[in-house]
């Protein structure tokens, strides 16, 4: 009977996950452009990727750059925000709404909004910087500043993660804080030795999911670099954008499927490493790790 209930998922899993996974694994060893027959070429696509496609490395670098800065910044930002919003100050509900709001907004409209905000002349960001006497960079027009611009945009919607931590903070028993305070612990000690250990499971979850999500960045690069060419000096050519161009612009689908598998392997390794190291810093209440 249980199988009847999970049947929709089983069908979906086979036709949209397992089937495609196997198809793309085989496909990555072929030459294929959707109308052609699949011609087996061995490791040719992979060899080409690593030795003869500078844009492969460029796009991998762009994506890694984004992930390396975005993940710690959004994690720390969300934690700091949630701790601040967990204080007993007036209007916290209003603040929570305001901070959370940007994270429900996404899509092309948001990218257009940020393209306007980051406009070197008429944009809000440089206008605000000018008020404090700084001449801002050209952002999306300067290859050195395109990725920071995207990360900046991401920070606007840090409220989603904030809510995740907040839910957890509220489940920490207040007695813990009270008794620590009696023992003379100051605010930093209380954060460092009570709050932080108690939220490590959420930090772990957050880091893993934003790492996986970060490696899938595509739309930002596609929309904000005009027509998907990757912006000035390919500085916004993210891995998935390069793969997209290979698959749907030049129909080099075997190659693109190979790229997809390399990405999959990278994400798998990083997730596994995270899991492995989590033992050393993630604290589970009542768990065996004591």
């Amino acid at each position: 009977m249980g199988y009847v209930f999970i049947l929709p998922w089983i069908i979906g899993f086979i036709s949209f996950v397992l089937g495609p996974l196997l198809f793309s694994l085989y496909g990555s060893f072929t030459n294929y452009n959707i109308t052609s027959r699949m011609e087996f070429v061995g490791f040719d696509n992979y060899i080409r990727m690593f030795t003869r496609d500078p844009l492969f490395w460029k796009s991998l670098y762009n994506t890694a750059y984004y992930v390396v800065f975005m993940v710690p910044l959004t994690t720390v930002g969300a934690i700091v925000l949630s701790v601040l919003l967990n204080q007993k100050v007036p209007c916290t509900r209003v603040y929570r709404t305001i901070y959370y709001m940007p994270s429900v907004l996404s899509g092309v409209a948001v990218y257009m909004l940020w393209m306007q905000l980051l406009n070197p002349q008429s944009g809000l960001v440089n206008t605000a910087l000018r008020l404090i006497g700084i001449e801002g960079p050209a952002w999306l027009f300067d290859p050195a500043w395109t990725k920071p611009a995207i990360i900046f945009m991401k920070m606007w919607s840090v409220g989603g993660g904030m809510l995740l931590y907040l839910a957890n903070l509220q489940s920490i028993p207040t007695q813990l804080y009270e008794s620590a305070e009696l023992d003379g612990a100051n605010a930093w000690h209380r954060f460092r030795f009570i709050t932080l250990p108690m939220i490590t499971p959420v930090i772990f979850f957050d880091v893993v999911t934003s790492l996986i999500g970060g490696f899938q960045i595509f739309q930002e690069g596609y929309v904000m670099s005009q027509n998907g060419d990757g912006g000035p000096m390919h500085s916004l050519l993210f891995y998935n954008l390069h793969m997209w161009n290979k698959a749907f612009e030049v129909f080099d689908m075997g190659y693109a499927m190979g790229m997809a598998w390399i990405l999959f392997i990278i994400v798998m390794i990083l997730t596994a490493l995270n899991m492995k190291f989590s033992k050393h810093w993630v604290y589970y209440e009542g768990g065996d790790g004591r």
């Binding site: 199988y3 949209f16 495609p20 496909g27 100050v89 839910a167 979850f205 027509n227 749907f248 997809a260």
Partner: protein, 285 residues
Amino acid sequence: MSKRYYASRRAQQLRAKVIVSIILFSGSIILIMPLWWMISTSLKSMEEIMQYPPTFYPHKVYWRNYVEAWNAAPFTRYTFNTLIICFFSVVGSVLSNSFVGYGFAKIRFRGRETLMNVVLSTMIIPGFVTLIPTYVLFSKLGWVNTYLPLTVPSFFGSTFFIFMFRQFYMTIPNELVEAAMIDGANHFYIWFKLMLPLVKPVLATVAIFSFNGAWNDLLGPLLYINDEMKYTLQIGLQNFRGLVQTQWHYLMAASTLVLLPVLILFFAFQRYFIEGMNLTAGTKG
């Protein structure tokens, strides 16, 4: 000592509260400013936008920017198309995930835990790994340039929503199911008549999240829809940008109109957005 100690502690706490309040207040101003800038730009004249330094609010308000932007492309048509896709995505997600989630939470069968782990582990598969084969599949089925690739998959469950439903069902006592079975009800009846009313908050959350997802989806329509009359808002907006490149007042007016329904939804159903997040936080352990 104690009186003075408590007095100084209270002063200290008050000071901390004032500092936190100031930080939160300035932070919220910074976070709202982008939206303010969008609306303010959308109401300016082209001349005012070109002005240097830029103005913080429109000196003369041009409401007609909205009408002109909307009519510069078939946005009404795009909205209609998007709503159709949203409707079927919501119906599909709500039905399939509540159904599958029930199976995973309330029915005992062999391999249940293993399969649930498989559900969860699919989270780490990057979307692009399955994107190309799925595209090949749909194009061989002749589904390209129809809404089927954008709606049909939601009828087969999605990892995150299945997990959310399962978490919620597990908080409902099993005795309820057992009592209903003794009264002669089968699982279909229990799911539909007994459980769905109980999981209404999750239904609402899933409905909102999947509506939001379908409304904002660019990749799917970009890949599958070629016919301009079948475009969704996201593609319409993306193409509109190329059309009016530097006319920021039109771009911002169109963006505002596309974001508005999401904002309204957010303020009307804030509770469910937050509930969804809390259910996610339940992952720990």
